[in-house]
């Protein structure tokens, strides 16, 4: 049973709903970051929604994924709760990581979401490990790793693909080629036209697909999942897409023109295109779409409201969760700080 059955009208609507959720969630996160509400870094997924939703839609719900620093889209596509995600962005205890992780580390292992990841290129080896566990236990799952166009320059990605190819591990690698790694265009990071050519180095199937088309992504990943599940090993899929926003909120984007950005938005917007497709097929009306948008907008606003009100973690919680049992060192330091009067912070 796939996560989102895009062969059915209801599934397609659900796909659209998740794409829209990602868009509105990140538009809101962006605003709240600019307000100074959300600390740290926020890397919006806006523009790339078709990749996360198409890819994760084609997985079974208990399949594993690993994500990247730009992970909100993957989380929401995997079905994570916007409320607990927003709470995490706000650094609140109710967040998925009790506020310890923040935007770049949201994880929900029970949902098969093995974490957003602040280290470019780190996800594919982890997903390969998950695939190893699956194969070891002969479980009926697969693992899927997202990786950026910048990320595939990392050697550890290649090590992972080679291992998976050699051992026919049940894993799918999805390269989100959004044309840039921070401010550096893909042509300045790679010599190949299509990053799916990487597959040749490991004699595994490789495909370059239109990452603005959720159906195309869904179909490619569905096939790859079947291959993985059948014991035929990994597949590498490059989804060409585009990030509408800067690398992170606050990026001045001096490395590209407004025309370039607007061109992609006008011609290829994944939500607009898919919505139109559903409307053309009479599966959706414009009114329904607007209603959907409002529902989601309300839910996201409520998530923000909730996150704002939610309690912050107590300072003492900082000493927890380092190990399965507390290490004596950490207990010692915590006790010392308490003895000093509990004053660790500073008014700098």
């Amino acid at each position: 049973m796939v996560t989102i059955d895009m062969e059915q009208p209801e599934g397609r609507k659900e796909g659209l709903r998740r794409m829209l959720t990602i868009r509105l969630f990140d538009e809101t996160a962006e605003k709240r970051f600019l307000d100074g509400d959300i600390p740290g870094f926020v890397h919006p997924y806006i523009g790339e929604e078709a990749v996360a939703v198409g890819a994760i839609g084609a997985l079974e719900p208990d399949d594993y994924i690993t994500s990247t620093h730009r992970g909100h889209g993957h989380c929401l596509a995997k079905g994570l709760d916007p409320e607990r995600m927003m709470a995490e962005l706000y650094g609140k205890r109710e967040g998925y990581c009790k506020g310890k992780g923040g935007s770049m580390h949201i994880a929900d292992v029970d949902a098969g979401m093995l974490g957003a990841n602040g280290i470019v290129g780190a996800g594919p080896p982890l997903a390969t490990g998950a695939a190893f566990s699956i194969q070891y236990d002969d479980r009926d799952q697969v693992a899927l790793a997202f990786c950026g166009d910048g990320g595939i320059a990392q050697g550890q990605v290649h090590e992972a693909i080679n291992m998976a190819a050699t051992w026919d591990l049940p894993v799918v690698y999805v390269v989100e080629n959004n044309q840039y790694g921070e401010g550096t265009p893909v042509e300045k990071q790679h010599n190949v036209e299509n990053l799916s050519d990487t597959a040749h180095a490991y004699d595994i199937p490789g495909f370059t697909i239109d990452g603005m088309d959720v159906t195309a992504v869904y179909e490619a990943v569905a096939e790859a999942r079947d291959r993985a599940d059948a014991g035929d090993g990994p597949t590498l899929i490059e989804a060409k897409t585009y990030r509408y926003r800067g690398h992170f909120v606050g990026d001045e984007e001096e490395y590209r023109t407004d025309e370039e950005v607007e061109g992609w938005q006008r011609e290829d917007d994944p939500i607009e295109t898919f919505k139109q497709r559903l409307v053309d097929r009479d599966e959706l009306t414009d009114e329904e779409f607007e209603q959907l948008r409002e529902e989601i907008a309300t839910a996201v606003d409520e998530a923000v409201e909730h996150a704002r009100e939610a309690p912050t973690p107590e300072p003492d919680e900082a000493y927890e969760d380092m190990f399965a049992q507390p290490a004596p060192e950490i207990q010692h330091f915590a006790a010392q700080f308490r003895a000093d009067g509990g004053e660790r912070g500073d008014d700098r």
Binding site: K100, G129, A131, E159, F323, A324, E329
Partner: protein
Amino acid sequence: MTAHAELETEATDRMTVREAINQALREELERDEDVFVMGEDVGVMGGVLGVTDGLLEEFGEKRIVDSPISEAGLAGLGTGAAATGTRPVIEIMFSDFLGVAAEQIINQMAKMRYMFGGKIEMPVTVRTTEGGGMGAASQHSGTIHTWIAHFPGLKAVAPGTPAAAKGLLKSSIRSNDPVFFFENKMIYEDSGEVPVDEEFTIPIGEASVERAGDDVTVVATQRLVGESLDVADDLEGDVDVEVIDLRSLYPLDTDTIVSSLEKTGRLVVADESPLSYGTHAEIATRAMEEGFFSLDAPVQRVGTPDTHIPFSPPLEEEVLPSGADVENAINRIV
């Protein structure tokens, strides 16, 4: 060695460190289906230094996995596998190669539990061999355990005897935290008595007084445990030396060290790491913090003099810390 009330038998067998490690692996593979051993040439070759000999024959290719030469991949695969229900024992052939794997170790394996708010287990063990003495030159002779002991979220053990090797490796594998198990390559042939009971384990974080003495405490690791015991024997009658096998680097058993210091008033720390910012400094500092008024003399450090390990035997012998250095250090303060 720690007595475990629950052991069915107190019997011991004489074996080498290599055999003790091999036996620990074998027992844990037998005990828990989730345990697998993966590394470069751990299978068909039985490990480049023979430590995993025979495991492939006994447990088969599923559980004893020869991997491509990809240490970052190994550490990442081990981390991802540990997070998803198996219990990997990864071999990084020489500790110098931990550099290749360092990203996955420090940013994933060490941090995942904390970053995820505690909502994951990380039952992975990393075995690796370290130290000079084989003429293996600078890239195969380093002692790098201070890096791991320093890095938050990782546990590190470094046994000095066969019994410690077996008991600690079993605890490492059973632990739900990432534990690095550092084997010194020069003691693989050292032998000693090792409990045979399959439930024999040594808690991570406990040091062991291997020899009691009143005049000076030597806290030693790995090869230098045995060499310090020899020095203690040699000095018998002149100086009464207490020798502690530190066994665990992190968590560190401050209590055992400080209790000994309170008795002897003098401390020598002997560990093969490079001296500056090395393992020694932490032990010296804790001794000072917790035993300031017991210290009758500055703590003495015995280690590698901030050089790499050179190839040529007279050079290698010069830089490697040895029993003679422990003796000199004792003589400086008694």
